[in-house]
Symmetry: C2
Subunit: 110 residues, 2 copies
């Protein structure tokens, strides 16, 4: 953990991509690293680590970057339960074959 060496390749690659996306968005907005870092309430070094895709950077730093750039709208949709097809399938599969009502004498109408 936190060591690039021990991480799956896909994850290393994904984090690099995310860093690159942030760097591009920052440059398009003509923000220097110092400027953007101060708006994020972090130091330039921390922003640098984020843009370089270093795995140890905290989620808060990541979210702050997207927030400062106005690119945070998609983040809450990650792993959204209603979009999780496998999850929905598994949940449905776990339903019992037959349902049996718990008997209560005065609860026979609905």
């Amino acid at each position: 953990m936190i060591q690039k060496k021990s991480l799956p390749t896909e994850i290393i690659s994904t984090l690099s991509q995310l860093g690159e996306h942030i760097r591009i968005a920052r440059k398009r907005r003509s923000l220097t690293m110092d400027e953007m870092a101060s708006r994020m309430y972090v130091t330039r070094k921390t922003l640098s680590r984020l843009e370089n895709g270093e795995p140890g950077v905290s989620l808060a730093v990541f979210a702050l970057a997207l927030w400062v750039l106005g690119l945070d709208k998609d983040l809450p949709n990650i792993a959204l339960p209603e979009q999780d097809k496998v999850g929905v399938f598994l949940e449905r599969q776990r339903l019992p074959e037959r349902v049996r009502r718990a008997y209560k004498s005065d609860d026979l109408d609905f």
Copy 2:
């Protein structure tokens, strides 16, 4: 930073949502926290901090969770440059009004 108190409300809320998404996806897959944590090569406590939306959790832990759950396909699309409408607009705006070729006597044909 890293202190919930000093973070924008939207970010606190977003991180909580992401943690909840992961927790739901884990339960749907009938994974205990111990089971999932070990597949992520982290401890149960770290996974717990992620599911609770704690801002200090590293990006690697987040990405590993999505990866273990098979929910990592959307992550690389966050802040995607071609979807960044503001960014594309700003970039276009920066184009010069007129273009002028740098004159080179032997480079007049193309």
